[in-house]
């Protein structure tokens, strides 16, 4: 069966984290030569990755990053500070290694792939960019559904295959990134539908709208929600009507990671909305998600709260591309190294707490 054409696989429950590995990792942490809890959240991170990887000694040396790019019909409504041409231009920039995520991937020694799911402007053939175009961007969702059922299924499947490639190549951590002018508008609209929240709580400046621009963006989202209000009751329909190619691909990628037992490090606002959709579609998917950073995009807080997520970093980043997740990878690696390599009280002959 062609995974790109059906969507039943989304509802398969996620793999279960390993409770025994978690307990072993907790026991190990309590024996390391430091006051209990003194490494703060790094201790919890190491224990969480241990449970997800099913081992007392977790490792995220091998990181795979897939950046999904696609354009948005709603961009015609003037919801972005940048022209739509930038999506295709940035895909070329990814191919040449000049974008932030390319630099970060080099620093991390991570594998990086870029998938064009449908830019409005042609890029021509590009080394290192997979061409999976489903159209010249989504439709303008203030007037019609962003995607038809085939586009949605294919976008989800493209994400699925990216996660499967990551697993086959031995990745220990999956990062999804996104690029698409207008995609904070799509993500905000989708989050409004999933959370039943008003647009003014979730919409923000994106790449740099001023206050008037944000007001206009809120109005556009309100119009879209009204257009689809009788139909966006299920997460899948909300994703099809209000999402985007890259948001659907992220959703499919995240769900596949949860099926395969591959930990995901979620980036910022748009990625978190995809993670929320994934959690709504796939029972238990959220157990496989670690959250890297709190975005400067104001709606991120509501989405994180809905996922009961506490991101590691708050650096006021708002770039996307997976960049915030990439910046957090060294913290995960440090957490694992400290967990695996520190001496225990017994090994080091160090006294414990006073009675």
């Amino acid at each position: 069966m062609n995974a790109g054409a059906t969507v039943e696989w989304l509802a398969i429950p996620a793999a279960l984290p390993d409770a025994g590995a978690r307990q072993a990792a907790e026991a190990r942490q309590s024996q390391l030569t430091k006051p209990p809890g003194a490494l703060g959240r790094l201790e919890a991170i190491a224990i969480q990755i241990a449970a997800l990887q099913g081992t007392e000694q977790p490792c995220v040396d091998k990181v795979h990053i897939t950046v999904f790019a696609g354009d948005h019909g709603v961009a015609v409504e003037g919801v972005s500070a940048f022209p739509q041409a930038v999506t295709a231009e940035m895909v070329k920039n990814f191919a040449r290694g000049g974008a932030a995520i390319c630099v970060a991937a080099r620093i991390l020694g991570a594998s990086l792939e870029v998938i064009n799911l449908g830019t409005a402007h042609d890029t021509g053939p590009l080394d290192g960019v997979k061409d999976r175009r489903l159209g010249p961007g989504t439709a303008n969702f203030t007037l019609e559904s962003a995607m038809d059922v085939h586009q949605l299924a294919h976008a989800l499947g493209i994400g699925r295959h990216a996660a499967e490639r990551a697993r086959l190549n031995g990745a220990q951590l999956f990062i999804g990134g996104e690029m698409g002018i207008g995609n904070t508008t799509a993500a905000s609209a989708l989050a409004c539908a999933l959370l039943d929240a008003p647009p003014d709580r979730l919409a923000g400046p994106g790449t740099g709208l001023d206050a008037r621009g944000v007001t206009h963006k809120i109005e556009i989202i309100r119009r879209a929600l009204a257009c689809h209000s009788t139909h966006h009751g299920t997460p899948l329909e909300a994703l099809r009507r209000l999402g985007g190619f890259e948001i659907a691909a992220l959703t499919g990628g995240y769900i596949t990671c949860a099926h395969l037992g591959l930990p995901v490090l979620v980036d910022g606002f748009i990625s978190s909305v995809a993670a929320l959709a994934a959690a709504r579609l796939c029972p238990g998917a959220e157990h496989w998600f670690l959250f890297s950073h709190a975005s400067a995009e104001p709606g991120h807080r509501s989405v994180l709260d809905a996922l009961d997520a506490r991101p590691l970093l708050n650096l006021e980043m708002r770039l996307g591309e997976g960049s915030g997740a990439a910046v957090a990878v060294p913290l995960l690696r440090m957490a694992c190294a400290l967990h695996n390599e520190m001496a225990t009280f017994a090994e080091a002959g160090v006294s414990g707490k006073s009675p």
Copy 2:
């Protein structure tokens, strides 16, 4: 002149950051292929390091870490959750590479040295630990000054020499760490004197006191402040009477970095109190300090506020040893790499913001 015996050098003004390099770095940031400000605090960090290093393209690949260890006479008052023997035991753990800072230094490829300024218990000779013992720990500062004038001058000079060695060895970033049972009590007392603040605002659980233990610690600090109240008016006297060997060494090290123009990444509560003392003793020293993390120790906030400091991380760490600073190093490296290696709009042919 023996730097270990005099303290006049502390008051030499700090080097000046390079305003031209700062402007060049700011100009570069504005041309990189991302919405302006989208990398958040990573942009400001790269620009700050550029100004400190006097170059448009900053780099912190070469990191030097010195851990200063020393015992505290006030430990006899029962102010720590751990027995005093742990200071010497942890010095041995440093020598064997089993402590958190040893693991972190290996991950970072950083040079690490450990200096014993005076443990109460003998460690015997240890490979990789410099023996600079000034006594079996400081005196109990609830009864007398923690250090005499010679001990203070020598401790400051030991820190000075550590920073000078770091510079000679080509370090681009200096991290000071500390180990000493009882040293959150000393640091809290010193901060109370420097900030004219009450002990209950600055004292906390340290390595893990319970509420009753914290109350007792506050009482001990109150007694110490009363004992020295007519004398701790100058930062140097406060440091001598209420500080510790390792806190004084950190202070001397930080000031020397400021003199030499070597950026410092400050660790947590105790290191920040030393940074505060350094800023009070050396005009302009604070310009050379970057702050790595907000400690779980509650008094850290007041000390950071006094230094107008915004740390990068908040991971609820409270270990010391320089570990929080080490964990933040990859963020600085990522900030520099993104700043140096991303394509500009012109190079990549990417459109700027819409008019």
